[in-house]
Symmetry: C2
Subunit: 257 residues, 2 copies
Amino acid sequence: MATGTVAPGNTANLPKLTFEELRAALRRVGEERYHHKHPFHLRMHEGKLSRGQLQAWALNRYYYQSIIPIKDAIILSRATDPAFRRAWRKRIVDHDGDEGRNGGILRWIKLAEATGLDRDRVTRADEILPATRFIGNEYLHLVRTRPFLDCVASSLTELFSKDLITLRMEKLRQHYPWLASGLDYFEARLTEAPEDAAFALEYVFDHAATRADQERVIQAVRDKCDILWAQLDALYFAYVEPGWPPPGAFQIGANRD
Amino acid sequence: MATGTVAPGNTANLPKLTFEELRAALRRVGEERYHHKHPFHLRMHEGKLSRGQLQAWALNRYYYQSIIPIKDAIILSRATDPAFRRAWRKRIVDHDGDEGRNGGILRWIKLAEATGLDRDRVTRADEILPATRFIGNEYLHLVRTRPFLDCVASSLTELFSKDLITLRMEKLRQHYPWLASGLDYFEARLTEAPEDAAFALEYVFDHAATRADQERVIQAVRDKCDILWAQLDALYFAYVEPGWPPPGAFQIGANRD
């Protein structure tokens, strides 16, 4: 327990959930814990964030974007089934791109540039909040150390992302029209995320042998929601209210030395 | 860079620092980044925290206390010199205790009990902030993965703790007299921490072969300060201002279900 997560309740003897029941249980987790309800996002969607606050968001979230293919490569490295690896490596291509097209990381950089940040400043990532780094690293730690099923399951917040991204694109265009040139990242995720989620959901359903396995799947999604949520807590604290970035972190309006 | 820390500047060709210069450089890091300046501690010392806020602090900080001997055991497991291990294992005894005396973890539990929390609720650690867990785990990650010298160096925030603990004990007695029965933890740290810091400082000075090694020592202390600081950011955000604990975390005044 010390370094892990909350133990699932004593449900090991209950019958296995059907596919629909599992999906519904995951949706309940999302309803309660996914970051669509986070006050930072609520303010974003109400048009109440300043350009500087959106810069802080883009700058910090870049770190998270930058480690996603590393996360997926760790999962790939632990997968013993070539068919699984073939399906999963799409995620790495989606983020890193190939000769033919840009990947998600470059699209995120374009979003950050649309907020007015220099590309170099974004990719150096040396002004991000320490908490952003720590919380991102927790995700890498999860996929390195937890059972493989949990690692696949942790991606299932993608079940919830389409609604959030659809709303966000509408609201960003409405309230921050100067950002419009930077929205390609979200456009691509609208189709990528649901495809990926469908594959992962089928995988975890097929490979959870017991109800206890299924409970671990649900817990992994809870843990992943906590990772997303905690990133926004740190952003809100540093840049919205009370608005105290820690020593050395990005300061709104300040140039780099 | 993606999962690590900020690279030290281009100082590899500079002359090595003397013992006094190294100590002074570390003190400058402490002055800038150690959590004695954190607004949560400032409020604590001004008597402005409520009992519930002190409960949230004791509950979350318990998690950190509980992993310290794990952190030290990881360092022990990486140490090849029996003399080093003999010196370092004192830290584990200090925290875990032995037949003859209580350790720091039990003393911290007593502090948490003095705030009015049940021991069970504290040690279960299932109401802590996810950020508390993620940030604590980052410390374990650091001592698992960074060069051994950096791991020893990361303990050197203990160079700064005596002044903070001395002030804290005075202020806690003054502003929260109902906590007085719980201060044994700090009393013990007043002598343990300076002994430990003196050993670790000598070790890193003797084993840093180059200026670049010394710069890594300084960076490790900076990183450790960031870990301590980020924990208080998360506490402040959740329980002081704006006061939004994430889904599932400890709520001030709420009983457990």
